[in-house]
């Protein structure tokens, strides 16, 4: 059963590789592995990486692991079997992904991580991540300001296996907890998911109808929470997200969600491919393994300048 599934996986993957490299048979291939593109953040990453790879003359093999470490492991096997020159990865778990990245490294295939870290250094060549702590503090400062520094609020947390869920929550609380009149009445994970956030928000509202604000660990959960609030006729509740998606941008412009924090996802993915290209050609990137990219607050003042995880100058 497992074997069949694995074989099927690699057939699918090879099919993609074959199709992509059909035009330039001699081109080297870069694998781009991310969570599901149903979250526009990951789609922007994959698109950014693929566009840069194409620009630099590579074929691409674009795969999604759906936040399943076992599936990610199978995708790595496929990428290794396909003889890719590098792997761009937004991983499926800080601890669980180390082995897969190590396996590729042992086969001489370098990995360049974006968005999420793994917990072991020296396995990936680069780990380029958003400065989630700095970004969360920006979001929290705006949230506190919007709340008038007081009131009951709820927090939606991301997937526990992802370091970013913890760091954002910590960044939020390092700011919000300084204000004694800000009261956290509910705190729950919705696993980065829009539909889960909708359900969680519904029950939070039932338990705490006096809620005045919701701070969310990402934009898809913020969208789910806002939809539930809207359905309950509670558009007065202040919602702040994290990511800088076009969906939340549009909501901000309509006066729905109040703010988010832009992670430069598109640029981050492009940087990773540039570093991969340099590494393939010279054997080094000339940069530290772990690199932080700062985030930018998005609210009604600058939302119009936001497009696909990049801010126009």
């Amino acid at each position: 059963m497992k074997l069949t599934k694995r074989l099927l996986m690699s057939v699918v993957a090879l099919g993609i590789a074959g199709a992509m490299s059909g035009t330039a048979l001699a081109a080297d291939t870069i694998a781009i592995i991310t969570p599901s593109h149903s979250n526009p953040f990951f789609k922007a990453e994959a698109d950014g990486a693929a566009a840069k790879a194409k620009e630099l003359g590579y074929a691409t093999m674009v795969l999604v692991h759906d936040d399943d470490a076992n599936k990610q492991n199978e995708l790595f096997d496929s990428a290794i079997a396909a003889g890719v020159k590098a792997i761009i990865l937004d991983n499926a778990g800080a601890d669980a992904s180390v082995a897969a990245v190590q396996k590729a490294k042992d086969k001489g295939i370098p990995s360049f991580l974006i968005d999420r870290e793994i917990t072991t250094a020296g396995v990936a060549v680069s780990q380029i991540v958003s400065n989630n702590y700095q970004g969360a503090q920006l979001g929290a400062e705006e949230f506190v300001k919007l709340m008038g520094e007081k009131g009951n609020y709820a927090e939606l947390i991301g997937k526990e296996s992802d370091t970013n869920a913890g760091i954002r929550s910590q960044g939020y609380h390092d700011v919000i907890d300084q204000y004694s009149e800000m009261k956290l009445v509910a705190k729950q994970t919705a696993n980065w998911s829009q539909t889960e956030a909708y359900t969680v928000m519904e029950s939070m509202l039932q338990a705490h109808p006096d809620i005045k604000g919701v701070i969310s660990g990402n934009d898809t959960m913020a969208m789910g929470a806002y939809a539930a609030l809207e359905a309950a006729g509670r558009k007065d509740v202040i919602v702040v997200g994290f990511d800088g998606s076009n969906d939340v941008r549009d909501s901000i412009k309509k006066g729905g969600i109040k703010a988010t924090v832009l992670q430069p996802a598109y640029q981050q993915a492009q940087n990773a491919v540039e570093q991969a290209d340099k590494f393939i050609k010279t054997g080094k990137t000339g940069l530290d393994e772990k690199q932080l990219m700062d985030c930018i607050l998005i609210n009604a003042d600058n939302a119009a300048k936001l497009e696909t995880f990049a801010l126009a100058k």
């Binding site: 910590q170 640029q267 690199q291 932080l292 990219m293 700062d294």
Partner: protein
């Protein structure tokens, strides 16, 4: 059947012993009660303060350079941190007059005038709540790659801020109207912003 069991057992044994190797190195790191606190203790006075003091550019000089071009000022005196959304980090020093002091907020600050025109040219953070990680990022002493994850690295930023705050004049020392000498670090993202400096020392002139 037996053979399979044996085989599985030996596989397990192999993986367990492989695991142990990793665990041991984790254990050694864990012996130090709080590795972040230890980093702060061993580097703050011995390395960070001397590095900032040695490299610090006079705030008046820096302001002039920034008025010309932030990027040129950055290349001359600073380090780039955080990519496009980030800014230039500068080690700074100066002597100035405190013209305003806000101790009511937990993010207490002193507004300082460096050119004597009676207007605030920059802000010194006094804590206990401090914004940013300029102390961690400016001197090039702390490499993110050597930390487990962002959470640990963020803790270091906060611990360095807390350590610096503990060395600054306490709330019962009024600074308003006094001439002070300071050394610290600052992040500048746009040429027009008023520098928000995190000091490692503020000495009031008698």
């Amino acid at each position: 059947m037996k053979i399979t069991t044996l085989f599985v057992a030996s596989l397990l044994a192999a993986s367990v012993s492989g695991c142990k190797l990793v665990k041991t190195s984790n254990g050694e790191a864990g012996v130090a009660a709080d590795p972040i606190a230890e980093v702060v203790e061993t580097t703050f006075d011995a390395k960070l303060v001397p590095a900032l003091t040695e490299k610090a550019v006079d705030l008046a000089t820096l302001q002039n350079a920034i008025n010309g071009s932030l990027d040129k000022a950055g290349e001359s005196y600073g380090v780039r941190v955080g990519g496009a959304g980030g800014g230039w980090n500068f080690p700074v020093k100066g002597s100035a007059t405190v013209i305003e002091e806000n101790r009511a907020s937990k993010a207490a600050v002193a507004e300082i005038d460096i050119d004597g025109d009676g207007k605030a040219d920059a802000t010194l953070q006094l804590g206990p709540v401090v914004k940013g990680s300029a102390l961690r990022d400016t001197a090039g002493l702390y490499d993110f790659s050597t930390f487990r994850d962002q959470i640990e690295y963020a803790k270091l930023g906060r611990a360095l801020n807390d350590k610096a705050v503990s060395k600054l004049p306490a709330a019962d020392t009024a600074l308003k109207g006094k001439k002070v000498n300071f050394v610290g670090a600052v992040v500048i993202r746009t040429a027009s912003e008023k520098p928000l400096i995190m000091p490692v020392s503020i000495e009031a002139a008698p």
